[in-house]
């Protein structure tokens, strides 16, 4: 099986068993997954909070570039890099 290409129409979703958690003890955002705890920086947190299975990659990028008043192409690169990395680790469905 080859990796599915991440197109603008993909609707990424965290699968069951992978979820975001705001850790109030350590005061940080985490991604909890089977035998894994991944610390998230604010950018990764903002991206993953939008991976509901409803929003498309294009819509997520639009939303983020507006919210953070940032360059769209740069956000697009960041989003795709993170999604590809997590999909490769089977922590995200695309």
């Amino acid at each position: 099986m080859s990796l599915r290409e991440i197109t603008g129409n993909c609707q990424p979703k965290l699968p069951r068993g992978v979820r975001l958690k705001q850790d109030l003890v350590r005061n940080e955002w985490l991604l909890l997954a089977p035998e894994r705890v991944i610390k998230l920086n604010p950018v990764a947190q903002a991206i993953l909070q939008r991976c509901t299975g409803l929003a498309s990659v294009d819509a997520i990028v639009d939303d983020l570039s507006q919210t953070f008043a940032a360059d769209r192409s740069r956000i697009d690169t960041d989003v795709r890099a993170l999604l590809a990395d997590l999909a490769q680790k089977r922590l995200l469905d695309i």
Binding site: G17, D23, P34, E35, V37
Partner: protein, 374 residues
């Protein structure tokens, strides 16, 4: 106090809850102690709930519901529900025996996050022989389907040893067939029941290397399809493993009776005093108990480890292995090539891998527990 005075240990990340030692299988490499705890000694539902609440407050993120076979606990669904309520990520570590369509649905509804299912081999006859349980393999196939159909992410776990090392790659293929997103291929480690079975379990170096190469090749081939977590044997390595990520640094293990341990094998170190959750809060156990503080930091180390550039990387290796092979829990793990006991360990490896022992000492509760006690 053996810790450096200024160091405060980080909050724990994981809690391994050995809910029971009862288990229908008899796997000869089981990491439970040879002296298994009986049902009448198990702590009750309310005690576990309190432990889980305290764990969440302390900073624990993930709870591994294990055993023995956790499905043998009639209150399992209630415990999962409670963990979910206090925000803990729950991972069920099971043999699958005892799972039913009704139970899998109830666990899903209770908020269980993840299921890890063990397999013993890729062929039924050998798998059932290793487990000491006829029909285990067929049952596990069925349970994998139930788990996936219920929408869970499934991990398959396989322990590699002499009898199945030639099929390590086939076990990855089986995990994919069963619908797993993740597979753990872990070479046997010699704790608990694996100690009396060492001569029957130890593969030859050639067997171990072939199994490792097969699995590493599959990692690349199946990237993006299944994640392969590979635990390779440490006894041929030059440096020891960073056991548990450091003593008292990441995880707490609670036995069925409620004793809190820094690792599942820690009770083999008889000189340590382990506190029970019935008498102490989890926070007191983590920060104050003598067992958790015994090997934190570097001040307990001998000269060899304390002056080593890897002291913060592997923490001197495994304390239980140091005791078992070097006779001193504070010694350098004999896996380390610098250890004065390294030669002794290699002799054991050579002798046991050449042994022609085939009969297992199956894991059993005293008085014929096992399946009948479920």
């Amino acid at each position: 106090m053996t810790m450096n005075a200024h160091e405060v240990p980080p909050a724990p990340i994981g809690l391994l809850a050995e809910l029971t030692h009862r288990c229908p299988l008899g796997c000869p490499y089981c990491s439970n102690p040879v002296q298994l705890e009986s049902r009448s000694d198990e702590i009750d539902t309310e005690s576990w709930k309190r432990v889980f609440s305290e764990a969440a407050a302390l900073g624990v993120l993930q709870v591994h519901l294990s055993g023995g076979e956790p499905l043998a606990r009639r209150d399992l669904v209630e415990l999962v529900e409670h963990c979910a309520k206090v925000g803990l990520y729950t991972n069920l570590i099971t043999s699958g025996i005892g799972m039913s369509p009704t139970l899998v649905t109830r666990l899903a509804d209770a908020g269980l996050d993840h299921v890890q299912l063990s397999i013993q081999d890729s062929t039924a006859a050998s798998a059932d022989k290793i487990a000491g349980y006829d029909g285990a393999f067929a049952k596990k196939r069925e349970v994998a389907r139930l788990v996936c159909d219920a929408g869970f992410a499934l991990t398959i776990n396989a322990v590699i040893h002499r009898a199945n090392a030639g099929r390590a790659g086939n076990m990855v293929a089986l995990a994919i067939e069963l619908g797993a997103r993740r597979v753990e291929i872990a070479h046997v480690q010699y704790y608990g029941w694996a100690v009396p079975n060492r001569a029957a379990l130890m593969p030859t170096l050639v067997q171990a290397q072939a199994a490792i190469a097969a699995v590493e090749a599959l990692k690349k081939q199946h990237a993006g399809e299944i994640v392969i977590d590979h635990v390779i044997p440490d006894y041929h390595a030059r440096y020891p493993k960073a056991c548990m990520g450091g003593w008292g640094k990441r995880t707490i293990n609670i036995t069925p009776q409620g004793r809190a341990l820094p690792c599942h094998a820690a009770e083999s170190i008889k000189s340590l005093e382990f506190w029970n959750v019935a008498q102490h809060s989890l926070a007191d156990i983590w920060y104050q108990s003598p067992a958790f503080n015994a090997y934190r930091g570097t001040q307990w180390m001998n000269e060899l480890c304390r002056t080593c550039e890897r002291r913060e990387i592997d923490h001197g290796g495994c304390r239980c292995q140091a005791l078992a092979l070097a006779g001193d829990a504070a010694a350098t793990d004999p896996v380390c090539h610098k250890s004065p006991d390294h030669g002794k360990m290699q002799q054991i490896v050579l002798a046991e891998e050449a042994a022609h022992v085939e009969a297992y000492v199956y894991r059993r509760l005293k008085g014929g527990g096992g399946a009948s006690s479920l």
